[in-house]
Amino acid sequence: MSRIQSAINPRSPEFKTNSEQYQKSTDQLRSRLSEAATGIREKLIVRHRERGKLLARERVDRLIDAHTPFLELSPLAAYGQYNNEVPSAGIVTGIGQICGIHCMIIANDATVKGGSFFHETVKKHVRAQEIAEQNRLPCIYLVDCGGAYLPEQDRVFPDKDHFGNSFFRQCRMSQQGLPQLSAVFGGCTAGGAYIPALSDENIMVKGNARIHLGGPSIVKVAINEDVDGETLGGAEMHTKVSGVSDYLAEDEPEALARLREIIGKLNFPKTCHTDTQPVLPPAYSPEELNGIVSADPKIPYDVREIIARLVDDSDFHEFKPLYGETLVCGTAHIHGYPVGILGNNGALFSESALKGAHFIELCNQRNTPLLFLHNITGYMVGTDAERGGIAKNSAKMVYAQANARVPKFSVIVGGSYGAGNYGMAGRGFGPHFMFTWPTASCATMSADIASNVMLELRRSSIKHGEASAEELQKIEDDVRAQYGEQSDPYYATSRLWDDGIIEPAQTRDVMGLCLALTATREPEAGPSPVYRM
């Protein structure tokens, strides 16, 4: 056992300054989350309740096993977009246990634009399904939506990853033995209608639930028929006449109880495919993380201080500690589950990249999941680095990581720039889960470097001639503003570039939940060689 000895003094002035500074970031995160959950739409929530309906998160609370966790995903999707009128992109997604079975729950929020689908709604819906498929989770759809948000139809309907893809995934997952179940709480028109229609089993709530391909107004226009919604697609008609629905529920609680009955009898195996060990809390409190991350992003800190506050007993077995020291690699347990951790302690050199590739192969061979803690400006540049083959050596790490068959998790704890983001399993490399700290930033490069690059490009431009001082100043201001805005974690999470912003102190629990979840999936079999680099 090798417990990390922390060099942090929680009584020091720096710690205090850092904590106070970080507290502002977490306060901001909390207020934004709270607003997304229940803010902005108070009147609509009142009207929703008056209809005998529960809020999306209330439905989740009732559906999942009492006193168990719900790992919500991307609660700040669409944050800051559409005049901030589409909180959480109008959909709640996350993983919870129902009758002890991990399930992906996808719940429309009808208090947000009637639960209609914006670009981010579709993206969040599809991402949830992707996680479900990757981790073999049954999908539970709590349907209360009016289909595509028509003014945004070009960003919702036609493309490969748009609305159609969610139905494609629903069909394919069902075929793979992943139950697709839905309960309908409100009107489901057009696209919305296919969520229950394509489910293996569905339940409709009497009075409120409707399923129709075209609503009364479309029916009037199309075939000049006068009909009310209940006759056209009400719950009683669909359970007793058309057979579109399988169960009729008197109210929402009954529908949710019925869902639980179905799930409880799914014959869906619950297995853990890894050796866990008794859980010990970290030797240092995760709450101290706020005081470790420097208020000034230029002041570095040792990533081991973070690891010491994430892993069981702060026990971290470091791999190759004397080699390639800018990449800290090692094995530990989080909530009793084994994990291989890679954390940045400066720019990645050839040695660090080779060490990273070697370590990834080790974990891969041993079926140990990988956790990447991003705080990386990138791979090293310069003559020495290039002569040392940094391009091919960094490629080895990227290649090993891209082909790893074990679950990968990314947490952006600081910057995540350029090819460093690739090597550390950025979004493009399909980590099973990816979370961001509220002070993180993610971009091709930092605003400083980007503005310098852009100024250099302008200065050397033949096409545009000599640049004036004002022009250069404007370029610098614009680039800084663009990078500042776009590398902001809220900008990223709003666009589903991650699975959510989490507080540093939550990281251990969130990772524990992710590790335990992925451990339910049987590891991929087959040889996995370890090439020494």
Partner: protein, 690 residues
Amino acid sequence: MITSLLVANRGEIAARIIRTCRRLNIRAVAVYSEADRHAPHVALADEAYGIGLAESAASYLNADAIIAVALRAKVDAIHPGYGFLSESDALISLCEKQNIIFVGPNREAIRLMGSKLEAKRIAQQAGVPVIPGYHGEDQSETTLALEADKVGYPLMIKASAGGGGKGMRQVDSAAEFAAALQDAKREALASFGDDAMLLEKLVTAPRHIEVQVAADTTGTTVHLYERECSIQRNHQKVIEEAPAAFISDQQREALYASALTLTKAINYDSLGTIEFLLDHNSGDIYFLEMNTRLQVEHPVTEYITGLDLVEWQIRIAAGEALPLSQDQIPCDGWAIEARINAEDPANNYQPQTGLITHYSEPGSLPGNEPGGKTEVRIDSAVQAGSEITPYYDSMIAKVIAGGDDRAQAKSRLITALNQFRITGPRTNLAFVTDILRRPEFIDQALSTGFLAQCFPGGWTPAPVSADAPLLAAIAHTVNREHPTGAALSSPWQTLGSFRLLERAGITAQNRIALEDESGQQHLVTVSRSGDTYHAKAHTFEISPETSHEISATATGLASGSCLIEIEDAELGAHTHTLSLQSEDELLIISNGDKIQRWRLLDEHQLALGSLSDAGSGDHRVTAALPGQVVEVCCKVGDSVTAGDTVAVLDSMKLLHKLNAQTDGTVQDIFCAVGDNVENGALLIELKPNT
């Protein structure tokens, strides 16, 4: 000399006898039925042998099987305990035949006192007063009715071979006589295989006082003072004490004298109890019956005398003389015993069955050995994991508290009862505690009508306060959110209701549906932030009205228990509440004494209607408790009126009538006489009249 002894019994009494054997260095052999394979009395013995199926008739009442074990285990003696074969000729005659010592009186004494008719005749001959009544051989209904008129109403019908309240009925008027007689006969036949009845005048201020006697084979006879057992429910003793309060020295002397007279008259040669009725108004005493065995309530006598009565029984049986003479037997202090039964005192003491999920006896019991001056003694033979079956008596433990005087004994008993924690089947713990707290228990002489007088209409648990369901829900949340157990390693089980948004104030709203002891349902929502729990009482509607809310801090303790503290703004003090949980049951102990019991409901099942459906459907007659069908009083096609008895069930040796809840015709019968049925089993289906 007895060096080995077989205990032909089960439960607490078997355990208690074995303890004395231990002390006397006697090899103790236990017997057990299928149902008792893992019972504590088996583990306590030096050897144990199975004697048959769970039903008593196949095991503890099977004298042949017991004798076979005695021969195999080569024991010197058999101790029959109480109940079962303790007063039966079957076992003692086999003992005689096999030359095994029967720890009890001679066969003739048992025979003489075994029939109530015979016993009274002998008592009368000896000059011991008996209650006016009819004890004749002529058992025809006409004669009995005629004799009943002579004795006068109110009167009691009793099974001649009876005991323990079985086959016993009170009759207030001639009109009720015929029906009551039939019931009593049926019950007597089922319990004793003999339906001979006797009639007795009913005393209006009756107290049940009994005298413990001991006699050896030389004819030396002593008494070990009296016990009062007036507090009875359904003619079964609930609270017993020694000595008796509110009794004059003359009355005491009269009791002792009568008891000794009778003991000598029958050449008695063991420990025995002579039961009397004391009419508190007139001061008259009447002989009731003699129990030729050890009594359930013998520990109270052991406390005041400081003696081990089982040891006395064994010594006398071995032919020794009485260890002490009358003037050497002390009478110091006071002792009160409470019988803890698995029963529902709020529901006509209906026996309860099932698994004991949590069981802890009052702590710090110095000694806890039979016969000593232990402040609090527990005689029990159950533990967590024990199953209460419908085959035997519902008593699971006896709590005996002693002190210098009655007040001290009572207060120690209350304290002990409050520390007793049992979950699983319902028990009468709260009921017996309530009895001891009644002013009538202290202020005046007891009477056998004590319970009817104190709890007219039956005992009900104290109503719950507005805070109570909230505290219960918080306790449940704490216990669930801080699960213990090595098997739990997944954070999906250990992190409680973790929410990503909880730090932003968007916490999980856990809904907890509870049922209190009166059967009322409560719905509470609990949310947590850190160690602070916020609970709100709701109605069951979808847009719930909040009626009451509290915030509390709570700490999970080991093994499903927790401590809750709430700041009381008015009192400026903390209220401490401790909870204990097992499965779907919760015990809440407020401020160290008040205990409440909650049952957790599954709100989802309520939403699906399956819970409410199960009990309803008044056209279905279901078994209200597990037992054996002894009579089906209807056939398919019969038309019945609501209230008609359609079947009779024998559960824990008591008969329970099952009545039609609606007018209709019998559509189907799902049971036959002799069937053993589970609680809730559908027995008869009616087609309601429309």
